[in-house]
Amino acid sequence: MHVEFGNSFKKFYKTGNFWCDLYPTTKLILCFTVAMSTIVMNNWIYGFSVCLFYFIFAFFTGHGKQFTKTFLILFVIIGLFLVVIRQVGMRTGNVTPMFEIFGWIWYRESFITSLDVSSYMLGFAGGILLFFDTTPMRDLMYAFEHMGVSHVTSFIMLSSMQNIIDLRKTSVAILESQKSRGIETDGNILVRSKAFFPTISPLILGAFSSTEEKSIAMDARAFSVKRKHTFLRELKPMSQIEKILCLLFSLALISLTVWKIAAALIK
């Protein structure tokens, strides 16, 4: 079984999902161009259509739940916040009243601008979020390393990610142990903050000392040997189709931008 597993690394790593198995750079370019296009368009109908597309697409990639969770929070915060702010802040150019709440008049013009702005903010954030949800950090680093980023940088990035996960785990463990020693960790802010400081000090100390030890341990794995690296787990390199796709999307974004600028100038 272990032999079989070892030999599985001889093939390119695959998840079986069309989108997820694209090369990280391809995914980055596609997500980024679509995300940027919502800014260039600055139009709520386009922006929200793209957002809707993100949702559907995320489910297609098998990361729907994860994406929805974060995106909905963004949606509520950015969307609502901007709509209200616009009604309060921007009063010039308002001519068409829509309705009135306790003497507070909402105008159509402000409302549309706020929709436009929030649609592109969400359109942009959603594209980036979709990319990170469907691209594991290690895949991204793999692509970076192949572009010449040093493996040390890549290690630090991956390791920081892992540290965050570990820290969360350790802090829960410390909180639990303090609870069992009778320190109050539930309750109001004051009570919690009293528990907070004794919690974080061992956490920070631990993080420091383990960083030092870890860097030494990695050195023992020949980290600082100046030789060309090889990779056990390899991703399928960008195919011709992927390259063409990236080019098309980039060209589309550029033309859209040029067209928008030209239109603005003519006006």
Binding site: K10, N163, R221, A222, T230
Partner: protein, 281 residues
């Protein structure tokens, strides 16, 4: 010529008053199996750090005297090159897991990736080492979720897979059960037989007696005693240095005191059996 040569070496860790190594002079020969024993805080790990060049490259502090590895002063060694030459299994298995790989198999392969070993060879070597250390069933597991003993074995595998000519091994069995310990010693012994130089810190004195050729006893930062295994471990004086001697040696001394001495002081069980049998005839 000696392989690793320490000449009057003293070392003090940064921000400490006491020297962790005091006037240490010793020559290690190529291809031999050395055991380092001694009290807690005696300087065993510090000695390993020096031989492997972590002192002075990682631990700053104050290093005096001369420490040559293969004729080159540790101060002048490139940290990368020395790591490809001397493998180091650390005392603490918890910090030896990289934390960036999703499976044990990938974890063990890290060193080979860094050394630029071609993929097919890499896979073969990792498979072999996993079999040697009995971690075949763990290859798909997440390295961050292993038990203590499993971690220690994975850490050990990750170093020996690199196949360096020298291995510095600091208490590799602290988290293992007797069976696991025995198998790790068998592996170390077979590595020695394949011509590697081994420097091993270990508290389990019976295993030291059975496998090592030379012993160094560290006490208070000094090499308090050194010599062939037999000479050191059959000497009652070794007990005064804060370390143990094998139970069979104690037995040998007891027989002597009882006026029924064996022909020799045994340090392993096999030896004891043989000596007792011989006396019976």
């Amino acid at each position: 010529m000696a392989y690793i040569e320490l000449k009057d070496v003293s070392y003090r860790y940064p921000y400490t008053k006491e020297q962790a190594l005091k006037n240490v002079t010793y020559s290690f020969e190529r291809g031999k199996f050395y055991g380092i024993i001694g009290e807690n805080g005696g300087g065993k790990t510090t000695l390993c750090n020096l031989i492997r060049g972590l002192i002075p490259h990682f631990y700053l502090g104050r290093l005096k005297g001369e420490a040559l590895v293969d004729g080159v002063d540790v101060r002048d060694w490139d940290t990368g090159e020395i790591s490809a030459k001397i493998g180091y299994v650390f005392q603490n298995p918890f910090t030896q897991i990289s934390g960036i790989k999703e499976t044990v198999f990938e974890e063990v392969a890290i060193g080979l990736e860094n050394l630029g070993v071609p993929k097919d060879e890499m896979i073969e070597r990792v498979i072999n080492v996993c079999e040697m250390l009995n971690i075949e069933d763990l290859v798909k597991n997440n390295p961050n979720e292993l038990s203590r003993g499993q971690r220690q074995r994975v850490a050990f595998a990750s170093i020996i897979v690199m196949d360096t000519d020298t291995l510095v091994i600091d208490e590799p069995t602290s988290q293992l059960d007797p069976e696991g310990t025995e198998s790790v010693f068998e592996i170390i012994r077979s590595l020695k037989e394949s011509g590697k130089t081994i420097i091993l810190v270990e508290h389990k004195i019976d295993l030291i007696a059975e496998h090592c050729e030379e012993i160094l006893v560290m006490q208070g930062g000094k090499i308090a005693m050194s010599g062939p295994t037999k000479a050191i471990l059959s000497d009652f004086g070794t007990l005064d240095l804060g370390t143990m001697i094998p139970a069979t040696a104690v037995f040998g001394h007891a027989m002597k005191e009882a006026g029924k001495p064996l022909a020799d002081i045994p340090i392993t069980l096999d030896e004891a059996v043989e000596l007792v049998e011989r006396r019976g005839e």
